[in-house]
């Protein structure tokens, strides 16, 4: 009797539950971007990709395929387009090379156009410094390398390639104003260029050297704060360059290391090691203590400096070592890092390293995205498997 009652109960409960509605599959669209969204690019893949994450929810929102050894994305402030400097070969890994500036719709992430540019774009592990967009989003400059160095000028407003100019001995391009830009030269000077309103070059020249490119080279990964570009050097100095006028002016360098820290081997680390939060006058540098020639080693701390007083105002231990950083433009900013983690116990990681199996470690390394509070250094979230080879983080 009990069995019959139970069967009746469960039978009723099954029939009372409504069927799931029929799915109508669609393709998602992005909402309006906000400062908590960040693009994570792997610039050195045979088929590079940029993935978009919402750092608030930890969700991946979408992806762009960006060709061979991508030059990363260009995110204009007007938000109507996303640009990606790309190289393609007609037979995937060989054949005719075509370089383009692909133009994407920021809502659908579909390509809505492209501008063909000279097939000479420089591909390298670092990305910042190989292209730069003017503050008014009108012109994009792209570094070329054959190995002769040159710079392509692209008119974003009218969607056309304008000109290619020689930049002999100079690699690393930085927009200064709406019509001026400069490039870092091997002798420690800057090449400066002035364009007219259509992007054609009307004047150019070279500054005097302002750093010793062999004794204390600056990294090509500069950060713009107001009218200055700030470049960190291998030995621990910040070299500011004022770009208020057509001809850039180097400002006196300042040290972000004490003599003792320098002697202890502290240097910047990773591939994108520097960023700023201009609203709060803070400069963030990814740091490690591997000594000379260690400047691409993963960072284990982030040091925070006041841009004006040059004082170090904070020093954060990172939860995971990192290959790059980016600071969000939120009022209370977040610090994003390209985190390297291993899905094995720490002792096993150490043993692999000790016995010379670093390449095995690289095979199992997970490249994630860590999100810290930039004010406190507190880790809020780790997004695992964010990329296969972290070379660039870009806040949107």
């Amino acid at each position: 009797m009990l069995k019959i009652v139970a069967l009746a109960f469960f039978g009723l409960s099954f029939t009372a539950q409504a069927d799931l509605p029929v799915d109508l599959p669609i393709v998602e669209k992005l909402k309006k971007p906000n400062n908590a969204w960040v693009w994570v690019s792997d610039g050195t893949g045979d088929f590079s990709k940029s993935r978009l994450f919402d750092t608030t929810s930890g969700k991946m929102l979408g992806m762009l395929s960006t060709g061979y050894w991508s030059g990363g994305l260009v995110l204009p402030s007007h938000g109507r387009d996303i640009y990606a400097i790309q190289t393609h070969f007609s037979r995937s890994t060989r054949g005719q090379r075509t370089d383009i500036l692909a133009i994407y719709d920021p809502e659908t992430l579909l390509e809505k156009g492209e501008i063909e540019i000279p097939p000479r774009r420089m591909s390298a592990l670092i990305q910042k410094g190989l292209s730069s967009v003017t503050a008014d989003d009108n012109f994009l400059m792209v570094q070329n390398f054959t190995p002769a160095q040159s710079i392509s000028i692209i008119d974003l407003k009218n969607k056309r390639f304008v000109a290619e100019i020689e930049s002999p001995g100079c690699t690393g391009v930085y927009a200064n104003s709406s019509v001026t830009f400069s490039a870092i030269c091997g002798d420690g000077s800057l090449m400066w260029v002035q364009m007219d309103a259509t992007g054609n070059v009307i004047d150019k020249g070279f500054t005097d050297p302002f750093f010793d490119s062999y004794e204390d080279p600056v990294a090509a990964d500069g950060v713009r704060v107001d009218n200055q570009w700030l470049y960190a050097s291998h030995n621990g100095y910040v070299y500011p360059v004022d770009v208020s006028n057509v001809v850039p002016v180097a400002v006196e360098r300042w040290s972000f290391l004490t003599d003792q820290e320098r002697a202890d081997g502290w240097r910047f680390g990773g591939f994108n090691h520097i960023d700023a939060h201009p609203q709060s006058r803070r400069l963030f540098i990814l740091m490690q203590d591997g000594g000379e020639d260690s400047y691409e080693e993963p960072g284990k701390e982030v040091w925070v400096f006041n841009i004006d007083s040059h004082e170090r105002i904070a020093r954060f231990d990172l939860e995971h070592m990192a290959l790059g950083l980016e600071v969000s433009m939120e009022e209370e900013p977040h610090l994003y890092t390209s985190a390297v983690t291993f899905p094995i116990p720490t002792w096993a990681v150490v043993m692999l390293a000790v016995f010379g199996h670093e390449s095995s470690l690289m095979e199992i390394a997970d490249f994630g995205l860590d999100i810290y509070q930039a004010d406190t250094g507190k880790l809020e979230r780790t997004i695992e498997n964010a990329t296969s080879a972290p070379t660039l983080l870009q806040g949107w």
Binding site: T93, R94, I126, T171, E297, G356
Partner: protein
Amino acid sequence: MSRFDKWLERRARNIARKTSRRFFLAKLGTALVGASAYPLLPIARSQATALASEADPGSPEDCEYWRYCAIDGFLCACCGGTASSCPPGTALSPITWIGTCRNPADGKNYIISYNDCCGQSACRRCQCMRNEGDKPVYLTSQANDVNWCSGSSADMVYNCSIAAIMGVEDEA
């Protein structure tokens, strides 16, 4: 161009003298373990590669091989080539970056050409990053972050890197 040519010529001897004499742990191992914590590590590895010739010690398939002091890439010796030859099916990039490495067998500093091999996709075996004396991309001839397949007559995708001896550094 001439101002840079003259300047580079002036610096060339200085570069060769200063570049890449140190013998560090591989980058990741350094970050994880700390160079000072395991100073005997390179010695342990040389014992493990005892089969190599006495004049050219070490295994070309090992990131710690002396010629790789300024390399950053996949070792062609693990990909069908050798320390000085590209794998079949690839093209040798004629443009390259240069380092100077000390051969522990004879104590001499050799000038090493790190050519990239191109035309097949990334080998992804024996990744090796040493970076001793590596410079930023505006010093292109000492920059190992550059994809040296790109832009050359072998304008194709990157497969792996070799470390060919170009000669002995002039001690003068």
